[in-house]
Symmetry: C2
Subunit: 238 residues, 2 copies
Protein backbone atom coordinates (compact mmCIF):
# COMPACT_ATOMS: atom_id res chain seq x y z
CA UNK A 1 0.00 0.00 0.00
CA UNK A 2 1.50 3.37 -0.93
CA UNK A 3 2.13 5.91 1.84
CA UNK A 4 0.36 9.24 2.11
CA UNK A 5 2.22 11.72 4.30
CA UNK A 6 2.12 15.43 5.07
CA UNK A 7 5.15 17.57 5.95
CA UNK A 8 3.93 20.77 7.59
CA UNK A 9 7.04 22.79 6.77
CA UNK A 10 9.83 22.68 4.19
CA UNK A 11 12.12 22.38 7.22
CA UNK A 12 10.58 19.00 8.03
CA UNK A 13 11.05 17.68 4.48
CA UNK A 14 14.29 15.93 5.42
CA UNK A 15 12.37 13.69 7.87
CA UNK A 16 9.79 12.66 5.25
CA UNK A 17 12.16 12.44 2.31
CA UNK A 18 11.23 9.59 0.03
CA UNK A 19 12.80 9.61 -3.38
CA UNK A 20 10.07 7.32 -4.74
CA UNK A 21 7.28 9.72 -3.81
CA UNK A 22 5.33 12.24 -5.78
CA UNK A 23 5.67 15.50 -3.84
CA UNK A 24 2.78 17.97 -4.02
CA UNK A 25 4.04 21.45 -3.15
CA UNK A 26 1.36 23.54 -1.44
CA UNK A 27 1.38 27.29 -0.90
CA UNK A 28 -2.28 28.20 -1.14
CA UNK A 29 -1.85 31.90 -0.27
CA UNK A 30 -0.60 32.47 -2.94
CA UNK A 31 2.40 31.02 -4.79
CA UNK A 32 1.00 27.69 -5.93
CA UNK A 33 -2.39 29.24 -6.69
CA UNK A 34 -0.61 31.80 -8.88
CA UNK A 35 1.32 29.05 -10.66
CA UNK A 36 -1.84 27.08 -11.45
CA UNK A 37 -3.49 30.26 -12.73
CA UNK A 38 -0.47 31.11 -14.86
CA UNK A 39 -0.57 27.76 -16.67
CA UNK A 40 -4.33 27.92 -17.13
CA UNK A 41 -3.81 31.35 -18.71
CA UNK A 42 -1.26 30.05 -21.17
CA UNK A 43 2.20 30.55 -19.70
CA UNK A 44 4.72 28.10 -21.20
CA UNK A 45 7.02 27.57 -18.24
CA UNK A 46 8.09 29.08 -14.93
CA UNK A 47 11.54 28.89 -13.37
CA UNK A 48 11.22 28.82 -9.57
CA UNK A 49 14.25 30.20 -7.72
CA UNK A 50 14.81 30.42 -3.99
CA UNK A 51 16.74 33.70 -3.68
CA UNK A 52 16.21 37.28 -4.83
CA UNK A 53 19.79 37.36 -6.21
CA UNK A 54 19.02 34.49 -8.58
CA UNK A 55 15.85 36.28 -9.67
CA UNK A 56 17.87 39.42 -10.37
CA UNK A 57 20.33 37.48 -12.55
CA UNK A 58 17.42 36.23 -14.67
CA UNK A 59 16.01 39.74 -14.87
CA UNK A 60 19.31 40.99 -16.28
CA UNK A 61 19.07 38.26 -18.93
CA UNK A 62 15.74 39.72 -20.04
CA UNK A 63 13.30 37.34 -18.35
CA UNK A 64 9.97 38.50 -16.90
CA UNK A 65 10.52 37.96 -13.19
CA UNK A 66 8.10 37.67 -10.26
CA UNK A 67 9.45 38.28 -6.77
CA UNK A 68 7.39 38.33 -3.60
CA UNK A 69 8.48 38.76 0.00
CA UNK A 70 6.14 39.21 2.96
CA UNK A 71 3.14 39.31 0.66
CA UNK A 72 4.32 42.18 -1.53
CA UNK A 73 6.04 42.57 -4.91
CA UNK A 74 9.75 43.18 -4.32
CA UNK A 75 10.87 46.59 -5.59
CA UNK A 76 12.34 46.42 -9.07
CA UNK A 77 10.37 43.35 -10.18
CA UNK A 78 7.44 43.15 -12.58
CA UNK A 79 5.21 40.62 -10.85
CA UNK A 80 4.35 39.22 -7.42
CA UNK A 81 2.42 36.12 -6.48
CA UNK A 82 -1.14 37.30 -6.96
CA UNK A 83 -3.00 34.95 -9.33
CA UNK A 84 -4.42 38.07 -11.00
CA UNK A 85 -0.94 39.07 -12.13
CA UNK A 86 -0.95 36.03 -14.38
CA UNK A 87 -4.20 36.73 -16.20
CA UNK A 88 -2.35 38.67 -18.84
CA UNK A 89 -2.28 38.08 -22.58
CA UNK A 90 1.34 39.23 -22.68
CA UNK A 91 2.44 36.15 -20.69
CA UNK A 92 0.98 33.62 -23.16
CA UNK A 93 3.70 31.28 -24.40
CA UNK A 94 6.33 32.96 -22.19
CA UNK A 95 8.83 31.57 -19.71
CA UNK A 96 8.91 33.56 -16.48
CA UNK A 97 10.92 33.34 -13.29
CA UNK A 98 9.42 33.34 -9.78
CA UNK A 99 10.71 33.63 -6.22
CA UNK A 100 8.37 33.76 -3.22
CA UNK A 101 8.69 33.76 0.59
CA UNK A 102 7.76 30.12 1.11
CA UNK A 103 6.58 28.31 -2.02
CA UNK A 104 9.74 28.34 -4.09
CA UNK A 105 11.74 27.13 -1.08
CA UNK A 106 9.46 24.09 -0.79
CA UNK A 107 10.09 23.31 -4.47
CA UNK A 108 13.84 23.67 -3.95
CA UNK A 109 14.07 21.25 -0.99
CA UNK A 110 12.02 18.55 -2.71
CA UNK A 111 13.46 18.70 -6.21
CA UNK A 112 15.13 15.27 -6.02
CA UNK A 113 11.86 13.44 -5.38
CA UNK A 114 10.41 11.11 -8.02
CA UNK A 115 8.21 13.98 -9.19
CA UNK A 116 7.28 17.44 -7.91
CA UNK A 117 3.85 18.79 -8.80
CA UNK A 118 2.09 22.01 -7.83
CA UNK A 119 -1.17 21.90 -5.93
CA UNK A 120 -3.81 24.42 -4.91
CA UNK A 121 -7.58 24.46 -4.55
CA UNK A 122 -7.58 25.76 -8.12
CA UNK A 123 -6.50 22.34 -9.44
CA UNK A 124 -7.41 20.04 -6.54
CA UNK A 125 -9.54 17.57 -8.51
CA UNK A 126 -6.88 17.20 -11.18
CA UNK A 127 -4.26 16.60 -8.47
CA UNK A 128 -6.37 13.98 -6.68
CA UNK A 129 -7.25 12.08 -9.86
CA UNK A 130 -3.60 12.03 -10.87
CA UNK A 131 -2.45 10.72 -7.47
CA UNK A 132 -5.07 7.96 -7.51
CA UNK A 133 -4.08 6.98 -11.04
CA UNK A 134 -0.35 6.89 -10.25
CA UNK A 135 -0.88 4.74 -7.15
CA UNK A 136 2.49 5.47 -5.57
CA UNK A 137 3.81 7.12 -2.39
CA UNK A 138 2.65 10.71 -1.93
CA UNK A 139 4.11 13.48 0.19
CA UNK A 140 2.06 16.64 0.60
CA UNK A 141 4.58 19.38 1.35
CA UNK A 142 3.17 22.51 2.96
CA UNK A 143 5.18 25.65 2.33
CA UNK A 144 3.96 27.08 5.64
CA UNK A 145 5.07 30.53 6.73
CA UNK A 146 8.80 31.06 7.27
CA UNK A 147 9.27 27.53 8.52
CA UNK A 148 6.11 27.55 10.65
CA UNK A 149 2.93 25.52 10.36
CA UNK A 150 0.13 27.39 8.64
CA UNK A 151 -3.57 26.77 8.47
CA UNK A 152 -4.41 27.18 4.79
CA UNK A 153 -1.74 24.80 3.49
CA UNK A 154 -2.58 22.20 6.14
CA UNK A 155 -6.25 22.52 5.27
CA UNK A 156 -5.54 21.94 1.59
CA UNK A 157 -3.40 18.90 2.51
CA UNK A 158 -6.37 17.66 4.54
CA UNK A 159 -8.73 18.18 1.61
CA UNK A 160 -6.47 16.03 -0.57
CA UNK A 161 -6.17 13.28 2.07
CA UNK A 162 -9.94 13.34 2.50
CA UNK A 163 -10.45 12.97 -1.23
CA UNK A 164 -7.93 10.13 -1.55
CA UNK A 165 -9.43 8.09 1.28
CA UNK A 166 -12.13 6.61 -0.93
CA UNK A 167 -11.57 3.34 0.80
CA UNK A 168 -9.61 2.58 3.93
CA UNK A 169 -7.03 0.52 2.13
CA UNK A 170 -6.00 3.00 -0.51
CA UNK A 171 -3.07 4.63 1.34
CA UNK A 172 -1.07 4.15 4.53
CA UNK A 173 -1.42 7.46 6.38
CA UNK A 174 1.24 9.18 8.50
CA UNK A 175 0.05 10.80 11.74
CA UNK A 176 0.36 14.18 10.01
CA UNK A 177 -1.92 13.02 7.19
CA UNK A 178 -4.53 11.70 9.64
CA UNK A 179 -4.40 14.99 11.47
CA UNK A 180 -4.73 17.10 8.30
CA UNK A 181 -7.79 15.08 7.34
CA UNK A 182 -9.40 15.73 10.75
CA UNK A 183 -8.61 19.43 10.37
CA UNK A 184 -10.32 19.46 6.99
CA UNK A 185 -13.32 17.68 8.46
CA UNK A 186 -13.51 20.34 11.19
CA UNK A 187 -13.83 23.03 8.53
CA UNK A 188 -17.04 21.39 7.26
CA UNK A 189 -16.32 22.66 3.78
CA UNK A 190 -16.60 26.35 4.70
CA UNK A 191 -12.98 27.16 4.03
CA UNK A 192 -13.34 30.90 3.77
CA UNK A 193 -15.02 31.20 7.13
CA UNK A 194 -12.77 28.61 8.73
CA UNK A 195 -9.67 30.51 7.66
CA UNK A 196 -10.91 33.85 8.99
CA UNK A 197 -8.79 33.49 12.11
CA UNK A 198 -5.66 32.07 10.52
CA UNK A 199 -2.52 34.08 10.97
CA UNK A 200 -1.68 34.29 7.29
CA UNK A 201 -5.20 35.40 6.45
CA UNK A 202 -4.83 38.16 9.03
CA UNK A 203 -1.43 39.04 7.56
CA UNK A 204 -2.84 39.16 4.03
CA UNK A 205 -5.92 40.99 5.29
CA UNK A 206 -3.69 43.86 6.32
CA UNK A 207 -2.42 43.98 2.74
CA UNK A 208 -5.99 44.20 1.44
CA UNK A 209 -5.90 40.90 -0.43
CA UNK A 210 -9.42 39.63 0.20
CA UNK A 211 -10.03 39.32 -3.53
CA UNK A 212 -6.95 37.12 -3.91
CA UNK A 213 -7.96 34.97 -0.96
CA UNK A 214 -11.43 34.35 -2.34
CA UNK A 215 -9.96 33.46 -5.71
CA UNK A 216 -7.42 31.05 -4.16
CA UNK A 217 -10.16 29.15 -2.30
CA UNK A 218 -12.08 28.33 -5.48
CA UNK A 219 -12.01 24.69 -6.52
CA UNK A 220 -11.12 23.50 -9.99
CA UNK A 221 -10.47 26.72 -11.85
CA UNK A 222 -8.18 24.55 -13.98
CA UNK A 223 -7.28 20.95 -14.86
CA UNK A 224 -3.65 21.81 -15.42
CA UNK A 225 -1.01 20.32 -13.11
CA UNK A 226 2.29 22.18 -13.17
CA UNK A 227 5.21 19.75 -12.82
CA UNK A 228 8.91 20.35 -12.22
CA UNK A 229 11.08 19.26 -15.12
CA UNK A 230 14.75 19.91 -14.52
CA UNK A 231 14.88 23.54 -13.41
CA UNK A 232 11.41 24.64 -14.50
CA UNK A 233 7.71 24.12 -14.11
CA UNK A 234 5.78 23.03 -17.18
CA UNK A 235 2.33 21.58 -17.84
CA UNK A 236 2.10 17.92 -16.92
CA UNK A 237 1.22 15.89 -20.03
CA UNK A 238 -0.80 12.80 -19.02
Amino acid sequence: MPTLEVAYSPDLYQFYRNDDAIVVVIDVFRATSAMCTAFECGIKSMIPVEHIEQALDYKKQGFIVAAERKGEVVEGFQLGNSPFHYMDEKLKGETTVITTTNGTRAIEVSKDAHQVIIGSFLNISAICSYLVKENRDVLLLCAGWKGRYNMEDSLFAGAVVNNLLVDENSFDLSDSATSANLLFESSKGDLNNFLKTSSHRRRLGRLDLEKDIEFCLQRDFTNVIPVLENDRLVRLIQ
Copy 2:
Protein backbone atom coordinates in the same frame (compact mmCIF):
# COMPACT_ATOMS: atom_id res chain seq x y z
CA MET B 1 -2.38 39.29 25.32
CA PRO B 2 0.20 36.50 25.71
CA THR B 3 0.80 34.14 22.79
CA LEU B 4 0.03 30.43 22.85
CA GLU B 5 1.89 28.50 20.17
CA VAL B 6 2.64 24.89 19.32
CA ALA B 7 5.82 23.65 17.61
CA TYR B 8 5.18 20.19 16.21
CA SER B 9 8.82 19.15 16.13
CA PRO B 10 12.04 20.14 17.92
CA ASP B 11 13.30 20.97 14.41
CA LEU B 12 10.71 23.74 14.15
CA TYR B 13 11.68 25.26 17.50
CA GLN B 14 13.93 27.83 15.83
CA PHE B 15 10.90 29.33 14.05
CA TYR B 16 8.90 29.69 17.28
CA ARG B 17 11.80 30.67 19.51
CA ASN B 18 10.69 33.23 22.06
CA ASP B 19 13.03 33.80 24.95
CA ASP B 20 10.21 35.27 27.05
CA ALA B 21 8.08 32.16 26.78
CA ILE B 22 7.48 29.25 29.09
CA VAL B 23 8.22 26.16 27.01
CA VAL B 24 6.29 22.99 27.83
CA VAL B 25 8.22 19.98 26.54
CA ILE B 26 5.90 17.15 25.49
CA ASP B 27 6.83 13.53 24.82
CA VAL B 28 3.75 11.64 25.95
CA PHE B 29 4.95 8.17 24.87
CA ARG B 30 6.98 8.10 27.12
CA ALA B 31 9.82 10.39 28.18
CA THR B 32 7.88 13.24 29.77
CA SER B 33 5.37 10.82 31.31
CA ALA B 34 8.30 8.95 32.87
CA MET B 35 9.77 12.21 34.19
CA CYS B 36 6.48 13.23 35.84
CA THR B 37 6.19 9.77 37.38
CA ALA B 38 9.77 9.88 38.64
CA PHE B 39 9.19 13.13 40.53
CA GLU B 40 5.88 11.93 41.94
CA CYS B 41 7.71 8.86 43.20
CA GLY B 42 10.35 10.92 44.96
CA ILE B 43 13.30 11.36 42.64
CA LYS B 44 15.33 14.47 43.55
CA SER B 45 16.56 15.51 40.13
CA MET B 46 17.13 14.25 36.59
CA ILE B 47 19.85 15.34 34.20
CA PRO B 48 18.57 15.16 30.62
CA VAL B 49 21.27 14.63 28.00
CA GLU B 50 20.91 14.42 24.24
CA HIS B 51 23.52 11.82 23.32
CA ILE B 52 24.36 8.28 24.45
CA GLU B 53 28.03 9.28 24.84
CA GLN B 54 27.12 11.90 27.44
CA ALA B 55 24.99 9.33 29.24
CA LEU B 56 27.92 6.90 29.29
CA ASP B 57 30.18 9.56 30.83
CA TYR B 58 27.69 10.01 33.67
CA LYS B 59 27.43 6.25 34.10
CA LYS B 60 31.19 6.05 34.55
CA GLN B 61 30.87 8.69 37.28
CA GLY B 62 28.50 6.37 39.16
CA PHE B 63 25.12 7.92 38.24
CA ILE B 64 22.03 5.82 37.67
CA VAL B 65 21.43 6.34 33.96
CA ALA B 66 18.34 5.83 31.76
CA ALA B 67 18.87 5.49 28.02
CA GLU B 68 16.18 4.74 25.48
CA ARG B 69 16.38 4.51 21.70
CA LYS B 70 13.58 3.28 19.41
CA GLY B 71 11.42 2.43 22.40
CA GLU B 72 13.88 0.09 24.12
CA VAL B 73 16.45 0.34 26.93
CA VAL B 74 19.90 0.80 25.39
CA GLU B 75 22.23 -2.10 26.21
CA GLY B 76 24.42 -1.41 29.20
CA PHE B 77 22.02 1.04 30.88
CA GLN B 78 19.87 0.48 33.96
CA LEU B 79 16.65 2.22 32.95
CA GLY B 80 14.60 3.18 29.91
CA ASN B 81 11.68 5.57 29.59
CA SER B 82 8.86 3.46 30.94
CA PRO B 83 7.08 5.28 33.79
CA PHE B 84 7.07 1.96 35.67
CA HIS B 85 10.88 2.02 35.81
CA TYR B 86 10.58 5.02 38.11
CA MET B 87 8.24 3.52 40.67
CA ASP B 88 11.18 2.27 42.66
CA GLU B 89 12.02 2.98 46.30
CA LYS B 90 15.73 2.91 45.41
CA LEU B 91 15.36 6.07 43.33
CA LYS B 92 13.93 8.20 46.17
CA GLY B 93 16.11 11.24 46.78
CA GLU B 94 18.45 10.30 43.91
CA THR B 95 19.73 12.25 40.93
CA THR B 96 19.54 10.23 37.72
CA VAL B 97 20.51 10.88 34.12
CA ILE B 98 18.24 10.33 31.12
CA THR B 99 18.59 10.29 27.33
CA THR B 100 15.69 9.38 25.02
CA THR B 101 15.03 9.32 21.27
CA ASN B 102 13.02 12.52 21.14
CA GLY B 103 12.21 14.06 24.51
CA THR B 104 15.67 15.00 25.72
CA ARG B 105 16.41 16.60 22.35
CA ALA B 106 13.37 18.87 22.77
CA ILE B 107 14.67 19.95 26.19
CA GLU B 108 18.10 20.62 24.71
CA VAL B 109 16.89 22.90 21.89
CA SER B 110 14.67 24.98 24.19
CA LYS B 111 16.94 25.37 27.19
CA ASP B 112 17.46 29.12 26.70
CA ALA B 113 13.76 29.94 26.99
CA HIS B 114 12.43 31.87 29.99
CA GLN B 115 11.51 28.53 31.59
CA VAL B 116 11.30 24.91 30.45
CA ILE B 117 8.74 22.67 32.14
CA ILE B 118 7.78 19.05 31.53
CA GLY B 119 4.23 18.19 30.52
CA SER B 120 2.24 14.98 30.12
CA PHE B 121 -1.32 13.88 30.74
CA LEU B 122 -0.04 12.75 34.14
CA ASN B 123 0.33 16.39 35.28
CA ILE B 124 -1.91 18.22 32.78
CA SER B 125 -4.07 20.08 35.33
CA ALA B 126 -1.03 21.28 37.24
CA ILE B 127 0.53 22.48 33.97
CA CYS B 128 -2.60 24.33 32.88
CA SER B 129 -3.14 26.03 36.25
CA TYR B 130 0.47 27.14 36.29
CA LEU B 131 0.30 28.59 32.77
CA VAL B 132 -2.88 30.51 33.57
CA LYS B 133 -1.34 31.86 36.77
CA GLU B 134 1.87 32.96 35.07
CA ASN B 135 -0.02 34.76 32.28
CA ARG B 136 2.89 34.96 29.87
CA ASP B 137 3.77 33.61 26.39
CA VAL B 138 3.58 29.83 26.11
CA LEU B 139 5.19 27.50 23.59
CA LEU B 140 4.07 23.88 23.60
CA LEU B 141 6.98 21.94 22.13
CA CYS B 142 6.16 18.48 20.81
CA ALA B 143 9.06 16.05 20.79
CA GLY B 144 7.48 14.21 17.84
CA TRP B 145 9.22 11.17 16.39
CA LYS B 146 12.66 11.69 14.87
CA GLY B 147 11.77 15.16 13.69
CA ARG B 148 8.32 14.16 12.44
CA TYR B 149 4.88 15.22 13.61
CA ASN B 150 3.25 12.72 15.91
CA MET B 151 -0.29 12.29 17.06
CA GLU B 152 0.00 11.80 20.81
CA ASP B 153 2.12 14.87 21.48
CA SER B 154 -0.07 17.03 19.22
CA LEU B 155 -3.15 15.72 20.99
CA PHE B 156 -1.72 16.63 24.38
CA ALA B 157 -0.83 20.09 23.07
CA GLY B 158 -4.44 20.38 21.91
CA ALA B 159 -5.73 19.33 25.33
CA VAL B 160 -3.68 22.11 26.93
CA VAL B 161 -4.86 24.72 24.40
CA ASN B 162 -8.45 23.60 24.95
CA ASN B 163 -8.06 23.95 28.70
CA LEU B 164 -6.45 27.39 28.47
CA LEU B 165 -9.14 28.82 26.21
CA VAL B 166 -11.48 29.54 29.09
CA ASP B 167 -12.32 32.79 27.43
CA GLU B 168 -11.52 33.94 23.91
CA ASN B 169 -9.27 36.72 25.07
CA SER B 170 -6.93 34.72 27.24
CA PHE B 171 -4.25 33.91 24.65
CA ASP B 172 -3.34 34.82 21.08
CA LEU B 173 -3.21 31.47 19.24
CA SER B 174 -0.83 30.49 16.46
CA ASP B 175 -2.29 28.47 13.57
CA SER B 176 -0.60 25.40 15.04
CA ALA B 177 -2.33 25.97 18.39
CA THR B 178 -5.74 26.41 16.73
CA SER B 179 -5.16 23.22 14.81
CA ALA B 180 -4.05 21.23 17.88
CA ASN B 181 -7.21 22.35 19.66
CA LEU B 182 -9.38 21.14 16.77
CA LEU B 183 -7.51 17.83 16.79
CA PHE B 184 -8.22 17.45 20.49
CA GLU B 185 -11.89 18.25 19.91
CA SER B 186 -11.99 15.55 17.21
CA SER B 187 -10.86 12.99 19.78
CA LYS B 188 -13.96 13.71 21.89
CA GLY B 189 -12.04 12.82 25.02
CA ASP B 190 -11.51 9.16 24.08
CA LEU B 191 -7.74 9.43 23.75
CA ASN B 192 -6.96 5.77 23.95
CA ASN B 193 -9.29 4.87 21.14
CA PHE B 194 -8.36 7.94 19.12
CA LEU B 195 -4.69 7.03 19.27
CA LYS B 196 -5.23 3.43 18.17
CA THR B 197 -4.20 4.25 14.64
CA SER B 198 -1.29 6.53 15.42
CA SER B 199 2.06 5.45 14.08
CA HIS B 200 3.85 5.62 17.42
CA ARG B 201 1.11 3.62 19.09
CA ARG B 202 1.55 0.98 16.40
CA ARG B 203 5.32 1.12 16.92
CA LEU B 204 4.96 0.75 20.69
CA GLY B 205 2.30 -1.91 20.22
CA ARG B 206 4.90 -4.09 18.56
CA LEU B 207 7.04 -3.69 21.67
CA ASP B 208 4.14 -4.85 23.85
CA LEU B 209 3.79 -1.59 25.75
CA GLU B 210 0.01 -1.38 26.07
CA LYS B 211 0.32 -1.11 29.85
CA ASP B 212 2.66 1.88 29.50
CA ILE B 213 0.35 3.55 27.00
CA GLU B 214 -2.67 3.22 29.25
CA PHE B 215 -0.71 4.62 32.15
CA CYS B 216 0.58 7.58 30.09
CA LEU B 217 -2.96 8.56 29.06
CA GLN B 218 -4.17 8.94 32.67
CA ARG B 219 -4.85 12.48 33.76
CA ASP B 220 -3.49 14.00 36.94
CA PHE B 221 -1.50 11.18 38.45
CA THR B 222 0.56 13.98 40.01
CA ASN B 223 0.60 17.71 40.75
CA VAL B 224 4.34 17.93 40.34
CA ILE B 225 5.77 20.01 37.50
CA PRO B 226 9.37 19.15 36.63
CA VAL B 227 11.30 22.29 35.64
CA LEU B 228 14.73 22.73 34.09
CA GLU B 229 17.18 24.51 36.39
CA ASN B 230 20.61 24.89 34.85
CA ASP B 231 21.46 21.40 33.60
CA ARG B 232 18.84 19.42 35.50
CA LEU B 233 15.16 18.86 36.09
CA VAL B 234 13.87 19.48 39.58
CA ARG B 235 10.43 19.93 41.16
CA LEU B 236 8.95 23.33 40.47
CA ILE B 237 8.36 25.15 43.75
CA GLN B 238 5.36 27.49 43.44
